[in-house]
């Protein structure tokens, strides 16, 4: 009887409340940096998701563009049309605020997809390497070692270049975004593979894995249902830090002209376009996209740093 009472009493303590009471949430609430950083990330992600609703103009609909609006400084009415733009317009009269929102969308999409793909490749290969060992492990880890001797950005550039050569010219612009995702993912999987392999090597010899093997579960269920959940927390940390790196890598590639095309500009492409107007005094075309990129990269970075400390039991 008292048992049921107890459960009823405990019932209002939902999963959310439990999460709120955990060490993890406690360290989050007591770190102003983490709170502010995650707030910035949430705002930027929401802005990117709802870009078509928030943006006052659709910058890629030629019908709404008016060349007379070109080079309008932020906040002041245009000399010809008397229209005002929050962050000004670029040379073609596109609203900079709207292009940033759409650019943010592409930057975040490419960054997140690339990290997700890298995570999947890395986790699968890392688990396989740790679980099977032998020549499979040697092969996978050797490839990882070789790739690690080259900077990731160089690997991404090279993959982008090769992919560009393979795709027929008429599809190059449309495919660019996906090629970019694959290029960044393939340059980044090694981190995940190494960490997962390291953690899985320890887990592999624990009793629960032996027990699972003893009752006759197959290799793959053991790897993905039993070992994987136990090696996920370092993966989470690396994923967050990787996200910041992937966003910067994407921006860098696009800035160099080997990434998102001008028809689908990401933040990097916008900065590349804006750089051309640095000397003629139209600073806002460059300044606002650069600030957005910086805020995004910095916030994700800080969040990753905090996560690393919060999930590290040694620092508790």
């Amino acid at each position: 009887m008292s048992d049921t009472m107890e459960t009823q009493k405990a019932a209002p303590k939902t999963r959310m409340a439990k999460l709120w009471d955990s060490d993890f949430a406690w360290s989050f609430r007591h770190s102003p940096v983490a709170v502010i950083a995650s707030l910035i990330v949430v705002i930027l992600v929401l802005a990117a998701i709802f870009a078509p609703l928030i943006a006052p103009y659709n910058p890629f609909d030629p019908a709404t563009l008016n060349l007379m609006n070109g080079f309008t400084p932020p906040g002041t009415p245009n000399a010809f049309t008397q229209e005002t733009f929050l962050l000004g317009t670029d040379d073609q009269g596109r609203d900079v605020f709207s292009t940033i929102l759409y650019g943010l969308r592409i930057s975040l999409f490419v960054g997140a997809s690339a990290v997700l793909l890298a995570l999947i490749i890395g986790v699968v290969l890392g688990l396989i390497a740790a679980y099977f060992g032998g020549w499979v492990e040697t092969l996978i880890m050797r490839i990882a070692d070789v790739q690690l001797t080259f900077p990731a950005i160089l690997v991404a550039m090279l993959i982008f270049g090769i992919a560009k050569g393979i795709t027929p010219p008429e599809y190059r612009n449309e495919m660019a975004i996906y090629v970019l995702i694959i290029a960044i993912a393939l340059s980044d999987w090694v981190q995940f593979a190494r960490v997962v392999r390291g953690a899985a090597l320890v887990e592999k010899n624990k009793e629960y894995v032996q027990a699972a093997r003893l009752i006759g579960r197959g290799s793959f269920p053991i790897m993905f249902r039993h070992i994987l959940p136990n090696v996920l927390s370092p993966v989470l940390v690396i994923a967050t830090i990787s996200l910041a790196l992937a966003i910067i890598a994407e921006a860098t590639l696009s800035f160099l002209g080997v990434g998102a095309p001008p028809t689908q500009p990401s933040l990097g492409t916008l900065i590349r376009i804006g750089q051309g107007f640095l000397f003629s005094g139209e600073w806002w075309i460059l300044f606002f996209p650069a600030c957005t990129l910086l805020a995004l990269a910095l916030a994700v970075n800080l969040l990753g740093d905090w996560l690393r400390d919060a999930l590290n039991p040694k620092l508790r």
Binding site: I153, M157, G161, I162, G257, I271, F279, A290
Partner: protein, 325 residues
């Protein structure tokens, strides 16, 4: 020791062979070289003739061997875009990149070590805290934004330094140098800072954390008890022992400088190898891409090898381990 060197060298050769295979596959499978070389009005006879001439009808392994032989002799074919031998173009561009990399590497190492030691010794000081905070921002800022920021401050607003190109250069034999003219030196400043800043902050933070660790060690405390001066303790005893990891990381960063030079060279339109590579990607100029890939991997593999061997030579503990196993 000897066995270790041989094993490491063997690994390096395998890496180079694999990279060579990638470069060769680019030649062979990315776009048809025949398509690239013959115009619209070609006959089947032309195609067949060129195919035999280029050796494309031979077995894959034989072609690969031929490619490696050519690459070893510095022969990478003709650039699709410029119509000149790739090796000639690379040689023209190399001095610009090497001078830039040398200056920024020098800057990063000297400033990085000096600032690292400073921030470690004056850990509580105001200046050290400011430097550490600024360095955190420096690490998070993408290289190209640092470059643009510097251009904005020093070229647009202050109009002190040029924002693009190398300035005037002087030819010494086949080497075009910007070190000997005022405009060449002025043009070097902004790109060198842009390129070196990231490595500098990295080295600085590394030296600082290593230094802090060493300063806590017993032998340093003992040195203090003996009454040695701070300068002798900090530089003779502490700094020396922080240098092992610093040398490793610095060596590996040397390769990154060349890679990041691509970004810096694009921002400043610096006529080096990196800018050439970016243009090659944009225009799918396969021979240039392949040659750059080979060149840079030879460099990376050599640097890694040298760092490993140096590490082995510097740290006596490794030698004991190797003998034990």
């Amino acid at each position: 020791m000897f066995a270790y060197i041989v094993r490491r060298m063997f690994q390096s050769v395998i890496v180079l062979l694999v990279v060579g295979l990638v470069a060769f596959s680019m030649f062979r499978f990315v776009g048809d070289p025949i398509d690239n070389m013959l115009g619209q009005e070609r006959t089947q006879a032309d195609i067949d003739r060129l195919r035999t001439e280029l050796g494309l009808d031979q077995p894959f392994v034989l072609q690969y061997a031929k490619f490696l032989k050519g690459a070893a002799q510095g022969n990478f074919g003709v650039s699709y875009r410029q119509g000149r031998p790739v090796s000639t173009i690379l040689l023209e561009r190399a001095p610009a990149t090497l001078e830039l990399a040398f200056v920024s590497g020098f800057l990063a190492i000297t400033m990085g070590i000096a600032l690292g030691v400073f921030t470690a010794i004056r850990r509580q000081g105001m200046a050290a805290n400011v430097i550490m905070t600024v360095s955190l921002i420096g690490v998070s800022l993408p290289t190209f934004l640092i470059g643009i920021l510097l251009i904005y401050i020093f070229s647009v607003e202050l109009d002190l330094l040029p924002s693009f190109g190398r300035g005037e250069t002087v030819m010494i034999g086949k080497w075009s140098t910007g070190f000997l003219t005022t405009s060449g030196l002025k043009a070097l400043i902004l790109p060198a800072i842009t390129l070196g800043l990231y490595q500098m902050t990295l080295i600085m933070r590394l030296v600082r954390s290593e230094m802090l660790e060493v300063l806590r060690a017993d032998y340093v405390r003992f040195a203090r008890a003996r009454g040695l001066s701070d300068r002798v303790i900090n530089f003779r005893h502490a700094l020396k022992n922080t240098l092992v990891p610093v040398i490793t990381i610095t060596g590996l960063q040397l390769g990154s400088i060349i890679a990041f030079a691509i970004i810096t060279e694009t921002v400043f339109q610096w006529p080096g190898v990196g800018l050439l590579f970016i243009n090659a990607i944009q225009f799918v100029d396969i021979p240039v891409m392949a040659a750059y890939l080979m060149l840079i991997s030879v460099m990376f593999v050599t640097i890694n090898l040298v760092v490993d061997l140096l590490y082995y030579a510097i740290d006596p503990r490794l030698r004991v381990d190797a003998r034990a196993t």
